[in-house]
Symmetry: C2
């Protein structure tokens, strides 16, 4: 497929990889990187370039397999409990000692009685008892390892025992990462508005190194076809794979496909993979080129899906595999029928089952990969999964670690972050993972068996009570409620409060732009309550239907000037250097099934809530009171 | 527990680890290694020493989420298919561009028709459509990563996006490996009889490096308590963990326990773990000391079981986990009730099931770890497993790779090694794994669904036919038989054939020491046949009941002078530089279920057997004929 079309196609991933391989072969790319000889001790992690045949046997001589005495088996014939045999002719040996000339068996120390220089045996021994034979481990000339084997510590030790001093292994493939884009600036600089830090190069180079490759990050190249062409050619001259970052789509400043088509072969432009769709696969100067999308999740997954197998093939080794597990879908998941959907999921061990909760699916949300415990691939042709369906998940964290993770779903509060951090500091095996879906969403998740605790600060307008009325409505079995903290809610406003807002009454001021929280969020319930008790109609609040999903989202909207105010917590206002008009002090509680209160998993959390250091830390954040922290309110 | 006792105890592994931790704490060992600040790009693989809070939001500004035009949503109200709206006021944007001042939504390029400088829209757009909000990925002040997190490429990219330029991570723990033993010589030297290459240090240092530690191997120390004490103290002064190799048992030259008891605290001497029983756990000069046994499997497993968790704790991170799978036991496995038994297993995907076959269990058989696909831990208190029982196995290879492995069980021949090596060279994803249990054992394994192909050269004395009569007796369903090769069998004799043996008739010569193969081995059946047709009574062959399990084992026995001769193949004689008296030329066949002949898994093997290069390679080995190689004889 040449030249570049202005549109991005949707080639299935396997077909795209095959087309790329074929284009590489046609263009004369080497099938394997060269072999090099390295000392056996330096070969761990490298791939054998030739089979390793044993040059010598190991052990190289017959030796004692136990501490004891070496004897001639024939001398012991007839020895029995009632008829001990006394030997003059024996030799004391330790494990590993060569079997002394003339002896053919070893008797364990514990079975020998020494009496006056003679050894008394009370049992006959067969020839070669407790003798480690020459070649017991490795026989000279046998195949120890095939070529294409990635060497582990035990492998190199065995090779050395078999007489190898050096091994012929593949040299490390070299990956050149070439960042492009007028808006890209190096990590370490302070980006101006509109500029983006070059975090992708950092990540892709690290991914290459994780695979055992050498990686070089080139200087950032401007959005200029001639400059990009020159950079790709220079990189191709010294690398086994060039990764060109960003510019892989079909926008005005997207030159990757055009450059590759003009300078070499464009094999694929666009694959049926989400995220990662606008990928470029091609060859320039007999070097494979991957044009990775600029969205970080796309860049990372694209590297995994297309570059990793190619690099393994260059080493002549099997690609690394992620372990998998089976999990139950926390909720319905829709997927586009036309492409493979790579969904990042959180995993939790709840009620004897591994439960998978999808994380945000945007290609730009790198934290969805950071927070993911697993990857769920919904292949092209599958429309998605039902809630409760069992699915196969590639693991990004160990199952034991996942089993020691407290899964919190619900309203988010900074205090949960503080708790997560302090729990981990005390015990590296404890994780507190929280997902933010609002208070009501958290209670529903708890009811559905998707989490251990739900964070809630849900005000019941009818009773003025927090959380408990909802718990009564949602649950039929026993539920426990533990107070985490009291916190101030208020109006987040621009620095200096330029509009002079004083409280909820001002929200109906004409022209004021409010930003609300999503339905089911406790903060929205609080606003409704405050409006209700003042007799104010929500329809009079301009922006009431505009929804953000987090306190920080509200603060960000105010900070960016997209809104004049929104309700949130003090910590969110501070995060963006904004001001704050207090409205109410509310309790924020942790809800859980009563039957799980005494679970080992949760014990560290209850301990933490009692610690003075934790309480002082929280109150020092501002806007919090720990007077009732840790109290069981139901 | 101080001082050292002359006997080795049997402390359960968990109890031993706890005792070691307690002794380390009492002796003032640091709980964690120090934190150091490193550039974010160098932090991959390291463990966070403090939580990472987001310093800035990402994205840092509102931006276009699509290529298209930025508009004011209010200007598009009322636009419809039948009532297009024409806009003068818009701005062309590409994905990632900052949202230009004054606009609040983006329309995808594909949905815009440009007519005379104006943009025609046929649908209204809501505010903030296709706008990536500031903080969509990361909100300033939120907890990005807790401490105790091992950083991956995506993590460092997210940290950099959140404003981190450096990260505070734990420095790498330093492991000092101190080899001991008068008989130990460095890898790279030519060992004399009785000397052993120091392959353990190579392996243990590599295991430490695999865990992200720095490792230093010290000079080999003689079996002298004062020298060992000095070496341990010097190592302790510069390391976070000292691994003292060998001398951990209670033999005459085993000083580890005594040295540790005298110079510091001996916490444990002997654990209920096999292999690995005679382990020493202690502290010297506020540095943990692991006394590892000298048998290589014991050394490796002991490091995994005791050192790895301690090193993870020093970094404040969760220990690495091996993935697990469920497998069906190929055969009954007995285990000592008093200790955890670490059994190395081969795994094969046979007939839709993962089947686990135990490998040799000796602590000295390092190749049992090299060839293992998994580890099966039979805990103390469990007597073993029945054949067919489902067991949990820790994986040492990926399940996909295991799924692409041709499992051959039966008689071993060097030609299988050559085939394994050439198959891998052609395709890194293909593995041919062969286990040697003799011809009859292989046919039984095939019948029991434990392997794909069985190598057999089993002579039926009644008919003089090879293999087929046995197949008829053992199988009720259709079996295919493919000829691998014809090969010469003969008497393996010392160089120069000093006893002047000419054939099987000489085996009854008085005083001649024969070494036989095990029952069920084809080579033994051949001997029986040759004796039978000469009317010679096996009882007249001295050594007829002495069994070796491989051709190489027979050759090794002759080479070591333990026997004068034994039957085997020419290649085995050559491996040890021995001479060979031909006796018979026999067919060596591959037996498999007829229903599997056309399986994709086996196709590369059948292709290989047709290749001239392969046949030439085999015939060049000597003693082989490929005239019928690849022919289906049934």
């Amino acid at each position: 497929m040449t030249p570049a079309s202005p549109f991005v196609s949707d080639v299935p991933a396997a077909e795209a990889a095959a087309a790329w391989r074929a284009a590489c072969a046609d263009a004369g790319c080497p099938q394997r990187v060269d072999g090099v000889r390295v000392p056996v001790g330096d070969a761990v992690g490298r791939v054998t370039a030739e089979p390793v045949w044993a040059r010598r046997s190991s052990p190289a001589f017959d030796s004692a397999g136990m501490d004891g005495i070496a004897v001639r088996a024939a001398d012991t014939v007839g020895a029995a409990e009632t008829a001990p045999v006394l030997l003059d002719d024996f030799a004391v040996v330790d494990t590993g000692d060569p079997l002394p000339e003339g002896y053919d068996a070893v008797v364990m120390r514990e079975h020998v009685h020494h009496t006056g220089g003679r050894a008394e045996l009370r049992a006959a021994v067969p020839p070669y008892q407790h003798v480690r034979s020459i070649g017991e481990d490795i026989g000279a000339t046998e195949l120890l390892l095939p070529q294409g084997h990635r060497l582990r510590p035990v492998d190199v030790a065995a090779c050395a025992a078999a007489g190898a001093v050096e091994l012929r292994v593949r040299r490390r493939p070299v990956v050149a990462v070439v960042p492009t884009g007028d808006e890209i600036v190096p990590v370490g600089t302070e980006p101006a508005t509109g500029q983006i830090l070059d975090t992708n190069s950092l990540m892709l180079a690290a991914q290459a190194r994780e695979l055992g490759c050498a990686a070089r990050v080139h200087d950032i190249v401007a959005d200029d076809p001639a400059a990009i062409t020159a950079a790709v050619r220079a990189a191709a001259a010294e690398a086994d794979l060039v990764v060109l970052v960003a510019g892989s789509s079909a926008g005005r400043d997207d030159y990757t496909a055009r450059v590759v088509a003009a300078a070499g072969t464009l094999a694929v432009h666009g694959v049926a993979v989400r995220p990662g769709h606008p990928v470029v696969l091609g060859v320039v100067d007999a070097t494979p080129v991957l044009g990775a999308p600029g969205y970080p999740v796309s860049a990372s997954l694209t590297f995994d899906i297309f570059a990793a197998p190619l690099l393994a093939a260059l080493e002549g080794a099997a690609p690394r595999e992620r372990p998998t597990t089976t999990a139950r879908m926390a909720r319905k998941l829709a997927s586009s029928i036309g492409s493979d959907d790579w969904v990042r999921v959180r995993l939790g061990h709840v009620g004897g089952d591994v439960v998978a909760t999808p994380l945000p699916r945007g290609a730009g949300v790198l934290t969805s990969l950071v927070r993911a415990d697993g990857l769920l691939v919904v292949p092209s042709g599958v429309e998605g999964h039902h809630a409760g369906e069992r699915v196969r998940v590639e693991l990004l964290r160990g199952l034991d670690e996942i089993g020691r993770t407290i899964v919190a779903i619900g309203s988010h509060d900074l205090v949960l972050d503080v708790a997560a951090s302090r729990l981990r500091a005390a015990d590296p095996l404890v994780t507190l993972a929280s997902s933010n879906v609002g208070s009501l969403g958290g209670l529903a998740a708890l009811r559905d068996g998707l989490c251990h605790v739900a964070g809630s600060h849900l005000l019941d307008p009818a009773t003025g009570e927090y959380t408990l009325p909802y718990v009564d409505r949602l649950f039929t079995d026993d539920v426990a409620v533990v107070r985490l903290v009291h916190r101030d809610q208020g109006l987040i406003v621009a620095p200096g409060n330029p509009l002079g807002l004083t409280g909820v009454d001002d929200l109906v001021r004409p022209g004021l732009r409010y930003v609300n929280r999503q339905r089911g969020a406790g903060t929205r319930a609080l606003l409704d309550h405050e409006l209700g008790r003042r007799g104010l109609d929500p329809a009079r609040v301009s922006g009431y239907s505009r929804e953000e999903h987090t306190h920080l989202g509200v603060a960000a909207a105010v900070s960016a000037g997209r809104a004049d105010t929104g309700m949130g917590i003090l910590a969110a206002a501070r995060a963006f250097g904004l001001d704050f008009v207090p409205v109410a002090r509310e309790p924020y509680d942790l809800v859980l099934r009563a039957s799980t209160v005494d679970d080992d998993l949760l014990a560290p959390l209850w301990d933490l809530l009692q610690q003075d250091g934790f309480r002082e830390h929280v109150e020092a954040l501002g806007g919090y009171s720990c007077a009732e922290t840790g109290r069981r309110v139901r």
